[in-house]
């Protein structure tokens, strides 16, 4: 560390100069923070301020910069000195100190102490930071693998080709087009949203086939996928058994859906009479009719009346039904009723629904159906029985008139749903040794919810990842994505799920979705080529590495990495696939021997900050509370609280962390050992409706902290001194309150006895 030269810059703008003794801060940076020099400036983010720092970097050889000014979330462009051998640390004196404190005489002393600590912390952090270098293994491969040749896959391929990328579509069947190719017409996607429109699938197939950048492999599957963004390698095996290996920069999984098996609905007459059909089967009947009247399958009589039963086997808790809404079927039924009405307005068409879902402009399509005379009846079908002499009788409860009624129809159409085709359950529970039956049953139940009716028999991607061959699922078998913040991101970097494999959707939505996934894939492979993170720490050059001689091969990092970024080598040491990595640090938090670190974020960069804080003695009545706050949600929430004039305890010292998952318990135990009175961890919502940017990070942290009780007991400290909370970015009132509550708690239970 001989060549470290710290330059500390203390801003006097934004009221900092009035509220704080900046000269004292400069002195602290030099004496305690070991900065080569510290400079005050009236307006640090101004051109002059920035130029001053630049000059010091260039002429004075400053390579570690401490900016003691506003929050690290502000003025990022002005203070972007990192890279090229320079590391930057920010002491948050504005949002973190003066705005979080009242401007009063009695608050002055504690406010100044707060600022002094943050300067000490920033100097300590920057000393242990190494300017990150792009990963030398970075590779650029501008070819994208699209798995699935339906509407989603073809859209993705065409979009990628338009943007100048090579594409290979691998389709398991013998033709492109997927289910959409089987439709007579589609629900309209443009104004006036009045009539069914051509599917456009034929034209799409032609464009795909004509595009020199797109290669189509039919009757083929992916039998092996390995590597990482920028250097995926996939085995494409055709039906004849021939396999070839290709390299790709990114993967788009558009493996689509499997139609619900209507034979599970005998109560709705399916299988009992050929006059009860699914929506897909009706498309076929209409195609056969070739513009003429549709014939009843049982006896070929012209259909004069049709009843559509919505939500058939859907939105229901019954065993074997889909608990969710497939979203496309309401408008599909309206479209199909129009097939009849447009052909002959005298045909009676009734749509039996409980809630009609016609998102967006499709409300106009609904109106158009009404105008054409389609009858919409709010009711629930209980039973469909074959009628004497053909057709069927639908028994239903009219929910508006509150009575049980029946109607006869020549044809009954069941609106059945979509089941995602997302491959196998990679978290399939196996009964572990010593696991109780009850726990095993619980795991099985979770798997049932996770997989829904997805058969899970055949893998789509055959990933050679330690975490299993397919994308993780969250619920009902759909490929998991970060629903709330990043809908395209699966937990496998560089692999994007799109279309109905991700969530139920119609053609319009699938096409939009595919465009998004394509842009994501491009982003991922381009960033991978530059050795940078694509998401969510866009452009981050740092990546984790481990010290081999310290590693005990415990495999915690491999298991706990939410993104399957770590494999194992033959000697069972972890192998980090940096371009799969999201830079969350969960592995770093997991490692019991603390050998995992990033160049600019490590056990030391945080540990040294914790150590740098001045701990007043037991009788000072100045406790110290450490907050480890997630930089994505909790830290901004605290910044915003201060911006809104919400004040909090002056005894708190807040350290932003990349993810709560990166918190190594050593930080907590060290803090308590060195005299902190309380520790608060603030992370995002975990569990099924997680908001954690890194999906499992917050969950892991909560789990680990659940076990910290033992350490506290050993230290003979009250367990309440460590609190772990889920904090949302909107919690701008709650987050400061949690801090103040800790201060009150300490007042009650007393100061820590560990102050030296």
């Amino acid at each position: 560390m001989s060549d470290v030269k710290i330059g500390a810059y203390i801003c006097k703008g934004c009221g900092l100069g009035d509220r704080l003794d900046t000269a004292a801060l400069a002195k602290i940076a030099e004496r305690e923070g070991k900065a080569a020099f510290a400079k005050e400036h009236d307006f640090l983010c101004s051109e002059a301020g920035v130029a001053m720092i630049r000059e010091d970097i260039e002429k004075e050889g400053v390579n570690r910069v401490v900016i003691a000014a506003c929050s690290r979330r502000a003025k990022t462009d002005a203070f972007a000195f990192d890279g090229d051998g320079v590391a930057v640390s920010r002491a948050n004196l504005r949002e973190g100190v003066i705005w979080a404190r009242p401007d009063t005489e009695e608050a002055r002393e504690t406010t100044q102490e707060m600022a002094e600590d943050y300067v000490r912390m920033a100097c300590a952090e920057v000393r242990y930071m190494t300017p990150p270098q792009p990963n030398p293994e970075a590779q650029t491969n501008r070819r994208i693998l699209v798995v699935g040749g339906g509407v989603s896959g073809m859209t993705a391929a065409l979009e990628a080709a338009k943007a100048g990328y090579e594409v290979t579509i691998v389709e398991k069947s013998g033709a492109l087009g997927g289910w959409a190719a089987k439709l007579h017409r589609r629900v309209p996607d443009h104004a006036p949203y009045a009539d069914p429109q051509e599917t456009g699938v034929e034209a799409m197939i032609q464009s795909v086939e004509a595009d020199p950048r797109i290669e189509v492999v039919l009757n083929a599957r992916i039998t092996r996928t390995s590597g990482a963004p920028g250097r995926f390698s996939a085995d494409i095996t055709t039906e004849s058994g021939q396999t070839r290996t290709e390299n790709f920069g990114a993967i788009i999984q558009a493996s689509g859906f499997i139609p619900y098996d209507a034979s599970k609905l005998p109560e709705l007459g399916y299988g009992k009479t050929p006059d009860v059909v699914t929506q897909l089967e009706l498309e076929e009947l209409v195609r056969q009719a070739g513009g003429g009247p549709v014939k009843r399958p049982s006896d070929g009589k012209e259909v004069r009346s049709v009843v559509f039963v919505q939500c058939a086997g859907q939105r229901s808790d019954k065993e074997g039904h889909l608990p969710y809404c497939s979203g496309f079927c309401c408008t599909a039924s309206i479209k199909q009723a129009m097939y009849f009405k447009d052909q002959n307005p005298d045909i009676d068409t009734t749509i039996l629904y409980t809630d009609l879902r016609t998102p967006g402009y499709l409300e106009d399509f609904y109106r158009s159906g009404q105008r054409k005379g389609v009858i919409f009846t709010k009711g629930v079908a209980s039973e469909v029985k074959p009628a004497n002499g053909g057709g069927a009788v639908v028994h239903f409860k009219d929910l508006i008139l509150d009575e049980d009624v029946q109607v006869e129809a020549d044809l009954v159409v069941l609106a059945t749903g979509m089941i995602p085709n997302s491959g196998v359950d990679i978290e399939k529970p196996e009964k572990r040794e010593g696991q109780s039956d009850e726990d095993y049953q619980k795991a099985l139940e979770e798997a049932r919810v996770r997989m829904g009716l997805n058969p899970g028999e055949e893998s789509v991607l055959n990933l050679q990842y330690r975490q299993g061959p397919d994308l993780p699922k969250l619920r009902y078998g759909f490929a998991d994505s970060h629903f709330i913040c990043f809908p395209y991101e699966t937990r496998r970097t560089g692999i994007y799920a799109t279309g109905p494999v991700r969530r139920p959707m119609d053609i319009t939505q699938a096409m939009e979705d595919a465009v998004g996934a394509t842009l994501k894939a491009i982003q991922a492979l381009e960033n991978a080529g530059k050795g940078r993170a694509a998401h969510p720490r866009v452009g981050d050059l740092s990546y984790p590495s481990f010290r081999r001689d310290g590693c005990t091969q415990c495999k915690r990092c491999t298991v706990e990495c939410p993104f399957g970024a770590i494999d194992e080598d033959e000697e069972r040491y972890p192998v980090f696939n940096e371009s799969r990595c999201r830079r969350c640090g969960t592995c770093m938090g997991a490692c019991p021997v603390r050998v995992i670190s990033f160049e600019n974020y490590s056990v030391d960069t945080v540990g040294q900050q914790i150590k740098a804080v001045d701990i007043p003695d037991e009788f000072s009545e100045k406790p110290r509370i450490l907050v480890l706050a997630c930089e994505n949600d909790a830290y901004p929430a605290l910044d915003m609280a201060a911006q809104n004039g919400i004040h909090y305890s002056p005894f708190v010292r807040i350290v932003p962390v990349r993810c709560l998952g990166s918190v190594n318990t050593i930080w907590v135990t060290d803090a308590l050992n060195s005299g902190y009175d309380g520790v608060i961890l603030m992370g995002c919502q975990k569990g099924e409706n997680y908001q954690c940017h890194f999906v499992k990070g917050s969950e892991m942290a909560h789990y680990r902290m659940g076990k910290i009780g033992d350490s506290l007991e050993q230290l003979q400290l009250e367990v309440e001194r460590v609190q772990t909370y889920e904090v949302a970015i909107t919690d701008i009132e709650r987050a400061p309150r949690l801090i103040n509550e800790m201060e009150q708690l300490i007042e009650k239970i007393g100061m820590s006895p560990f102050k030296f």
């Binding site: 009676d348 105008r371 005379g373 009858i375 709010k378 508006i400 008139l401 009624v405």
Partner: protein
Amino acid sequence: MSDLNAQMVEKYRNSFLKEVEANVEEGEWVKMCMQCGVCSGSCPLGPYWEHPPQEIFMMIRAGKREEVLKSESMWMCTSCYNCIVRCPRGLPITHIMHGLAHYAERLGLAPKQNPTRRFALMFWDNIAKHGRVNETVLSIKLYFMDGFSAGIKRALEMLPVGLGMLKAKRFNPWGLFFHKGCKGKRDIQKILAKAREIELAKAAKFGG
């Protein structure tokens, strides 16, 4: 059953909706209802209706011809227009209610004793005769529509109001004996007769 009525039943056996569309004022809107229930919830008289508007529209679509046309419900509408203002689908509900009531009356299906119906008929006779309402006669007829003793009782109840109106010159007892009507009384009667003729012809067209 009137002839017209019988014809309708015959012709529109399965589709009462089509009958309504052809014969009821603004009837073509009924199919556009999306069953949200906002009208029923907005109607100040909603709780007193046997079938609030939303339900009436559903019944029409379910082909409940008799039940709808014989219902007292649409006679409950006071033309407050709350529902029209609020209906997200823009249905002219008030007009449809009156249209339905009128159609039921034409077919002879309207409930005979419904007070609104009786008042409406009274009002019509009154205004159609003179081209201008004779309020004195109208109120007296209204008070006495359920017989003499009920009429006296009602009149006595309303006495203070009546005296007040008399004082404010809002009530003319002489109207009982003299009522001028409007200028073109005869013309008005001719216009109304012609309108009725057209209406019947139209109904006959759909009926026949």
